[in-house]
Symmetry: C2
Subunit: 156 residues, 2 copies
Amino acid sequence: MKIVNESVVIDGIDKTILNFLMENAKKSILEIAKNIGITGAAVHQRLRKLEKAGLIEGSKLMINPRVIGYKTMAFVGIYLDKAISNPQAVKQLSEIPEVIECHYTTGNWSIFLKILCRDNEHLMHVLNKDIQAIKGVSRTETFVSLDQQIKRQIKI
Amino acid sequence: MKIVNESVVIDGIDKTILNFLMENAKKSILEIAKNIGITGAAVHQRLRKLEKAGLIEGSKLMINPRVIGYKTMAFVGIYLDKAISNPQAVKQLSEIPEVIECHYTTGNWSIFLKILCRDNEHLMHVLNKDIQAIKGVSRTETFVSLDQQIKRQIKI
DNA sequence: ATTGAAATATGTTCGTA
DNA sequence: TACGAACATATTTCAAT
């Protein structure tokens, strides 16, 4: 079975390669190759094709933020004044290191954030000092993630 | 300056190494070593220490879901019946591949999801068929991410 | 697209400082 | 911790099919 999208053709072998590497980017090409039953050179060539197609965005070392003291994850919905341009606010939000995701969303909020703080006190500071300081931010609504039970990429 | 947390001591060199690899997990140890001004063996040794400390969770190949046709990201707040156990619902949510994050949150919602779908039709199906089918889910509130402007890990 | 083999680059270990 | 050298693996290229 093949999936065709935006001129990218992915077959089952490509999927297997990607799923292995999405789980562990350091898994060796040779190991993957052995598992599939083709040579390392073939896996390598397929990876180059997939990279060229823009399917692969890169690879990231994942760290556990808790171990360096970041224990409070929160989501923040932001009400933005109509007069204020969205890009302007986003530019300032990107300068707050605690902001790890920023979305332009449908619904009541204009902007929706995921932020990561050390503790509740730190969270309060980011909300009241850093985010409220941004021009156009009229009000925010915050909820804290007490526990994250699922964290994964889409299975391809 | 040193940060001490949970018996993990991280100095500036460790931070530099980690920040490089968080950006690109495939960056070679030697390149990082050259940049810092120490040998590859020293970088290697520090990485082993950090791994042992549980700071490193692994490395993941990041793919662009849009290229394989996943273009609609949405957030879903779920109201759960008091009678229903949270873990039971989470177990069933984990069987829906479109659910890429699941949080137990403060506020009105019991559970908060990030889901990734191909399009609005697919999203509707996941909401009405898959999520509503879960026992204890009384109501959901959904908002769609029209554009994600920030996506990063915490800078350490 | 795939192979096998060669060439290059990288990761890993270890004795020493 | 860090070094350098030796060793072990992995990646990358390429001509041939």
